[in-house]
């Protein structure tokens, strides 16, 4: 039986990248954004106190959203451009 590669890339920006001390993670076996948030809160307790949104393939996820195979997932702290 072939094993499906369920890994995906997570890129972090701004204050989130600073807190988790990396700009990129590779995770696997995480089906949706709620599970991802739970995992991140557990791995990086500091993130529990920070607001961030999640983008999947460059679209902001609204509510709990499935993470497709090979997705590019991004962790976005509140925007502060301009």
């Amino acid at each position: 039986m072939e094993k499906i590669n369920t890994s995906f890339k997570v890129i972090a920006f701004g204050m989130i990248a600073e807190k988790i001390k990396t700009k990129e993670l590779v995770l696997e076996g995480i089906p949706n954004t709620d599970v991802l948030t739970g995992y991140l809160h557990q791995q990086y307790p500091e993130l529990q106190h920070l607001k961030f949104s999640i983008a999947i393939n460059k679209k902001q996820a609204v509510g709990n959203t499935m993470i497709p195979l090979g997705a590019e997932v991004a962790l976005l702290p509140p925007f502060s451009g301009g």
Binding site: G14, A55, A74, L76, F79, G81, G82
Partner: protein, 150 residues
């Protein structure tokens, strides 16, 4: 339609120079159906922080997403207002206090459309573009910028 419906790069390394703004204005003199231009410029403030004053802001962005989003915003605004032209430029990297980090430029036959569109563009850029400013304080600390509604 004089504007191109393709995503454009909006990012500029470092500060946006007044000469760039002048060139951009001058480039519109051949469009003789324009009656009004509205321009918004964001300038880096030397705000007081714990331990010092802001000396610069360092901008980072999720560039690919920001360009897609900027394109979507452009399309929305072009649909909503009768504009001749629309330009957005945002700095990346370090921009010192007193320098320009955002340049939004709308042009229309009549003033009202240009002004309303410019204002809406600025609000949407601040709210929707994945761009982050880190305020660099002169005692070598830093503070992540937060946008306000004013």
């Amino acid at each position: 339609m004089e504007h191109k419906r393709t995503p454009k790069n909006i990012f500029v390394q470092g500060a946006i120079l007044p000469e760039k703004i002048a060139n951009s204005i001058a480039n519109h003199s051949s469009k003789t159906d324009i009656g009004g231009h509205s321009i918004f410029l964001g300038q880096v403030r030397a705000d007081q922080k714990e331990g010092g004053n802001v000396r610069a802001i360092e901008y980072t962005a999720y560039e690919e997403m920001a360009l897609e989003k900027a394109f979507e915003i452009r399309e929305d605004i072009f649909t909503k207002y009768p504009l001749t032209c629309m330009h957005i430029y945002h700095s990346l990297g370090e921009v010192k206090t007193g320098e320009i980090c955002l340049f939004v430029f709308t042009s229309s036959k009549h003033r009202k459309a240009a002004m309303d569109a410019c204002e809406e563009l600025v609000e949407r850029i601040k709210k929707e573009l994945p761009v982050w400013g880190k305020e660099l304080v002169d005692n070598d600390t830093s503070v992540w910028k937060e946008n306000t509604n004013v």
